[in-house]
């Protein structure tokens, strides 16, 4: 199923309005006017291709106020992609919703006639806009009651054609019906690629299934009192806030170039509101692209190689995974915590595994500092012992080694090289503190560790571990399982702060905003997002083993954001 872009029905938007059951899939096709309206709203580009220009009346004396242009002036900056706006903690900065229904909704409707999702920042106490008063608001900053709009709202110079395109776009932002949402059930998917680790897959699914079963076993029932009371104009959109969750597991098969079609097929058969968690191998790009195209939120998949595209919207990641590790190792190589300066680097990875992307990132980062980097790719199919040994034979005196290897390759490293200098390794790929390093290696190891240190996170991780234990969920891949549990909790809490406003873009926007308030953040010291931020945890440690034996880690480099 191809979903339509929110802006796609602008030309016929007036016709769409009023059909509250219009789902994305049934919307009229795109049109030139729709594209113009969307370009103004999202990118600050007028039909002529010229930049949108806005002026705030403040700062007079400067030759006419503060001018804002192009992307900086785009409506989306404040009113957000959903068109639902936002309100600050202290409520002093309130950016009202501009999705058409909120602007044009008649006053004094009976409560039962309202089917608008509730948002806190709605202005319910003013005249409904008309096209003419809305144009006046946008051009002159005067609202429908004739009062001036807030300081933040610029006055925009738009000609009549651009203005009607923009207004049509606002009307097209219908926020009343999303796929995957019924009166009683919220549908979610989780996506697993065929190259995902089977042990992690089992561990993740155990957590997801149990979390949802628990949630559904103890539902917050709709409150009959509120349903019948009709108190407040949004009561209709509030009473059913606690729906059952239903999880659809989308397991992909075959080569990566067939995944997109498989995903389309899944989505057509099982429309979902969002993708929750998920598990990838070395290639998540097709899934990322699919979610972006289908405008489907994908919340915190377990992915080692995420797609770095901060201007994309729909996929949120916990971290940059091995790409973050490459940044940490590069920093550590440039500024070693001990020993002489590093002059050359040999890195080893398996073809086709996550280390390949990481090795490219490391070569690029280290290359900039003038240190020579050589990369050895081990054939994907070769035996652990043999392939690694051959690669390590290429090491020269003074090389810093970087190992992008899995536990089976690490276990087969053999004896530590006699003249080994510092050996960097990927914690994510190698198994973190459980990495099965053979004797002699441990004292050389500097491990990229894109998480909080074990001692520091113990309280935050204790809670999910207790939850697993109480429910007899075997801990087979602790970090993935704790991250999965965290993703579930973040979704549940964000929805609990979103009333009944099931709008995909709003879900992402609320997550961006609320994430920073979370204090049980599992493996991560803190999480935060914002518009144009898609990686919630930004930094990591480089650690070493405290003792010749055992798993105790200490930081070799303070928390670093590369």
């Amino acid at each position: 199923m191809k979903t339509w872009r929110a802006g796609a029905c602008a030309a016929l938007a007036v016709a769409c309005l009023g059909f509250s059951s219009v789902a994305r899939a049934d919307a009229p096709p795109s049109s030139k006017q729709a594209a113009v309206g969307e370009a103004i709203y999202r990118n600050g580009v007028l039909a002529s291709g010229a930049p949108l220009e806005g002026q705030r009346e403040r700062g007079a004396g400067l030759g006419g106020g503060l001018v804002t242009k192009g992307a900086d002036a785009a409506c989306v900056n404040c009113h957000l992609r959903s068109g639902l706006g936002s309100i600050s903690n202290d409520r002093r900065v309130s950016i009202p919703p501009v999705a058409g229904q909120y602007l044009f909704q008649p006053r004094n409707m009976k409560a039962s006639d309202h089917d608008l999702p509730y948002v806190e920042n709605v202005k319910a106490d003013r005249e409904p806009y008309t096209d003419a008063t809305l144009a006046r608001a946008i051009r002159e900053g005067i609202d429908s009651d004739g009062k001036p709009l807030g300081t933040l709202m610029p006055r925009f110079a738009l000609d009549d054609a651009d203005m009607s395109a923009l207004i049509a776009y606002l009307k097209s932002l219908d926020r009343r019906k999303e796929p995957g949402v019924t009166d009683t059930v919220l549908h979610f998917a989780t996506i697993i690629t065929p190259d995902a680790d089977p042990v992690k897959r089992r561990g993740m699914l155990d957590v997801l299934n149990r979390y949802i079963a628990d949630k559904n076993a103890f539902p917050f029932s709709p409150t009959p009192h509120l349903r019948s009371s009709g108190k407040g104009i949004y009561s209709k959109s509030l009473y059913m806030a606690n729906r059952h969750w239903q999880l659809h597991v989308w397991e992909l098969t075959g080569p990566a170039d067939t995944w997109d079609a498989q995903l389309e097929d899944h989505l057509a058969k099982e429309p979902v509101f969002a993708v929750l968690s998920g598990l990838g191998g070395s290639n998540w790009a097709p899934v990322h692209a699919f979610c972006e195209r289908e405008q489907l939120p994908c919340l915190f998949p377990n992915v080692e190689v995420p797609v770095v595209a901060d201007r994309d919207f729909y996929t949120l990641y916990f971290s940059k995974g091995v790409l973050l590790e490459a940044g940490l190792i590069a920093k550590s190589i440039a500024e070693p915590d001990s020993g002489p300066p590093v002059r050359s680097v040999l890195q080893v990875y398996r073809e086709g595994d996550s280390g390949e992307a990481a090795a490219h990132a490391l070569a690029a980062a280290v290359g900039r500092s003038g240190i020579a980097v050589r990369s050895e790719a081990i054939a994907a199919a070769s035996e652990p012992g043999k392939g690694v040994a051959q690669a390590l034979q290429k090491a020269m005196k003074g090389d810093a080694l970087v190992l992008w290897l899995r536990p089976n390759d690490i276990a087969a490293l053999g004896a530590a090289p006699a003249e080994a200098g510092t050996v960097y390794m990927s914690g994510l790929m190698g198994g973190l503190e459980q990495a099965p390093l053979p004797e002699g290696w441990r004292s050389h190891i500097r491990m990229a560790y894109p998480f909080d240190l074990p001692d520091a996170r113990v309280v935050r991780v204790d809670f999910p571990l207790g939850w697993f234990s109480f429910r007899h969920i075997p801990v087979v891949a602790e970090q993935v399982q704790v991250d999965t549990y965290l993703a579930c909790g973040l979704l549940a809490e964000t929805l609990s702060h979103s009333a009944d406003t099931f709008v995909r873009e709003y879900l992402v926007e609320r997550m961006e905003e609320l994430l920073e308030h979370r204090y049980l953040t599992g493996y991560y010291p803190r999480l935060a997002l914002a518009e144009w931020q898609r990686f919630a945890s930004k930094g990591g440690y480089v650690v070493r083993f405290a003792d010749p034996a055992g798993n105790r880690l200490v930081a070799a480099r303070e928390w670093t954001v590369p």
């Binding site: 700062g59 400067l62 503060l66 806190e120 709605v122 300081t151 933040l152 509030l238 905003e513 308030h517």
Partner: protein, 213 residues
């Protein structure tokens, strides 16, 4: 079921609804918004046209920051170099409040003309992990920041301490209110502007007190 400890710290909804953490567990949370709040009027406190001005004294914490040029500096050293200071808090991915504050700073430095060398414009990141020195430099270029306007980042803890010292911490970066702080010289009190200070307001304050011509 999840313990109370699981829930978000504060959060705008919680704050807005006057809810306790425990109440956040309740399915009634959204309902309270409606039942208690027939008062939509309160949702739209208009920011005053000119920012509210007040005088305040702050103890500068001993905090190390990282300037956009990568240099580690002490906050106090940066603020106490003898120049007047105009300070705000920003983050580079902010799309609503900060761009207007930064535009105001940009216009202020233009309007100060040659006197700008006697003023130090200070923008401190409230999203320091995202706002690396490189990103701050890019942001500075976007607003044509001259050498008298400098940007600072640092650890999350350092940024938090500075925000707290200036009573500027609002719980999360995305809902930080517009705030500008001005001090004409070390040892003088701070002038605090809550809301969007205008270029003229800041200029007037500087001119009155340091006779910037």
């Amino acid at each position: 079921m999840p313990a109370v400890a699981q829930f978000f710290r504060g959060g705008r909804s919680l704050a807005a609804l006057g809810a306790t953490l425990g109440m956040a567990l309740s399915p009634m949370t959204p309902a309270r918004a409606v039942d208690s709040g027939g008062a939509y009027a309160q949702h739209h406190v208009q920011l005053p046209d000119a920012a509210g001005r007040s005088i305040a004294a702050y103890a500068l914490p001993r905090v190390q920051l990282v300037r956009a040029d990568g240099k580690r500096v002490l906050l106090a050293d940066e603020l106490n170099d003898g120049r007047a200071v105009v300070l705000d808090f920003v983050y580079t991915t902010c799309t609503s409040v900060c761009p207007l504050s930064s535009q105001t700073f940009a216009a202020l430095q233009d309007k100060l003309g040659i006197e700008r060398d006697r003023v130090h414009l200070v923008s401190i990141s409230i999203d320091p992990e995202q706002d690396t020195p490189d990103r701050l430099q890019e942001y500075a270029r976007h607003f044509d920041a001259g050498p008298q306007w400098q940007f600072y980042t640092g650890t999350a803890e350092a940024s938090l301490r500075v925000q707290q010292a200036f009573r500027a911490y609002s719980g999360d970066k995305m809902s930080h209110p517009p705030l500008t702080l001005l001090r004409v010289a070390p040892g003088k009190p701070w002038v605090r502007f809550d809301g969007f200070a205008t270029v003229d307001q800041l200029l007037h304050e500087l001119q009155n007190q340091v006779a910037v011509q």
